[in-house]
């Protein structure tokens, strides 16, 4: 197990597996959020379900996600250090030929997403950074939270980076786990594209609808 973790391939596999767990989570989280558009009572009910009725399950999910993200970040950090050490003297000129912008934005985009996740939890889960938090009124919390232009813009920025992270990550995690089939038009590329569009778009509907005054 130790030699597995010490290997760069082992670390990538760990990043792939933990990444896949979080991809699964954001899909469910986004789908759950869409109940916002059914109406206040449905959304508050959903919040009550997660925070009270199914609280044990919620905690299991929270702990799994926390562990996954901790492993993901540790491996990412160590691999970044490894990559830096692998080329201490850079080129005077090296042009990116085919790598996608998404792949090159993984590291700094990941840092932005980490900051976003911490803020997001303090904003809507604990309410610490929310101007008028009421645990029983999840719907109202969303509307009030997103009526601030700056907060909404920060969320939308995070969703743009989430899209990039998912586009490269969903594709790469399947390959890091050796699950891809050799192909000139890989299936996991298409899956990644769909995930990278659907998930951030679904999340973004909430701040957008509040900002545009569609939902009050």
């Amino acid at each position: 197990m130790l030699s597995f973790w010490q290997s760069s391939v082992g670390k990538k596999a760990a990043m792939g597996l933990t990444g896949l767990i979080v991809v699964g989570f954001v899909l469910v989280h986004m789908a759950g959020n869409l109940q916002f558009f059914v109406g206040p009572s449905k959304f508050n009910e959903y919040s009550h379900l997660l925070r009270h009725t199914l609280i044990e399950l919620t905690w299991i999910v929270r702990l799994v996600l926390l562990a996954a993200i901790a492993v993901h970040i540790t491996a990412a950090w160590q691999l970044t250090q490894r990559a830096k050490a692998a080329r201490p003297v850079g080129y005077e000129r090296r042009d990116a030929q085919v790598s996608t912008y998404a792949s090159r934005a993984m590291r700094w985009g990941g840092v932005y997403l980490l900051v976003f996740i911490v803020y997001h939890i303090l904003h809507f889960t604990t309410g610490t950074l929310h101007p008028a938090y009421d645990e029983a009124q999840a719907y109202g919390n969303v509307v009030i939270g997103f009526s601030s232009l700056w907060v909404s813009l920060f969320y939308l920025g995070a969703m743009a980076l989430l899209s990039l992270h998912l586009y490269h990550g969903t594709w790469a995690c399947l390959r890091s786990l050796g699950l891809a089939k050799p192909s000139s038009n890989p299936l996991e590329r298409r899956i990644a594209l769909i995930v990278a569009i659907v998930v951030p778009a679904g999340f973004s509907l909430l701040p957008l609808s509040v900002l545009l005054g569609i939902v009050r």
Binding site: V9, K12, R87, S183
Partner: protein
């Protein structure tokens, strides 16, 4: 053609290097890139200067000796082409060309554009042997091999070990090289007995040589003069994970004890 070259000059492994500018005049567009450097070197020698050192051998794109960063791309602007097979018609008259050695901790610069790629040899060594009988050649079809498997193995075996994958990778990763070697033998029946051991040992050696990890940027595949696919990296990961999970062959690895 008249060109301006900006070339990395470094007297020795421990010496400090710098970019220096040279004129390349009266170059024919039909010359190869290395022939153009030969012409520049003749001029330098005539002037009593030290010629630009670069690796080369077969000059027909199959030995893997030559390789340099040309205008920010490993082996220059043409796809599926080594520096020796790159022709000056790929450049325009009056152009300034930047020429640098491969840059990686695992590939220390020996002189000018020459780097030490022994790390690749040690990865190959770590792969060890395959259980093939020696002696007279086996009958051609004694071991049936599905056509697609033979194709996969051949595609991976096309690797000439030039190091362009490492040079082009933002992480300076040797994943494409190691993966090509692992999936070459792993695709064939003859490579099965040591398949797991080979994957573990070659990956371990690759890490030991201070190469970076794979981020699946895809730059290696584009730089590879033999067009080796990053699908091989998927195979390497699969073999490594399978070997780590099952610990197959590890007993044999320690000499069967």
């Amino acid at each position: 053609m008249n060109l301006t070259l900006r070339v990395w000059r470094q007297a020795g492994p421990a010496a400090a290097g710098a970019m220096r500018e040279y004129r390349a005049e009266g170059i024919s567009p039909d010359m190869s890139f290395l022939e153009m450097l030969d012409v520049v070197n003749e001029g330098l020698i005539a002037k009593g200067d030290e010629p630009i050192a670069f690796d080369h051998d077969c000059r027909e794109g199959i030995c893997g000796m030559c390789g340099m960063m040309i205008n920010g791309a490993a082996h220059g602007p043409q796809r599926l082409t080594t520096a020796c097979q790159l022709h000056m018609r790929s450049f325009s008259d009056g152009e300034t060309i930047t020429i640098e050695p491969w840059r990686a901790t695992a590939f220390p610069v020996l002189k000018d554009l020459v780097v030490d790629r022994s790390a690749f040899d040690r990865i190959i060594q770590a792969g060890g042997f395959i259980s093939a009988p020696t002696g007279s050649a086996v009958d051609g079809n004694a071991i049936p091999i599905p056509k697609l498997d033979a194709d996969d193995a051949m595609d991976a075996a096309a690797c000439i070990g030039c190091g362009a994958c490492v040079a082009a990778c933002p992480n300076a990763s040797a994943s494409l090289f190691t993966a090509a070697k692992i999936s070459h033998l792993g695709s064939l029946p003859q490579g099965q007995p040591e398949r797991s051991r080979r994957a573990l040992a070659m990956v371990a050696q690759m890490d030991l040589e201070s190469f970076g990890g794979c981020s699946l940027f895809g730059e290696c595949m584009e730089a590879c003069p033999k067009g080796i696919s990053i699908d091989t990296i998927n195979t390497m990961h699969r073999d490594f994970l399978f070997a780590s999970a099952t610990k197959r062959d590890v007993k044999e690895w320690s000499g069967g004890a």
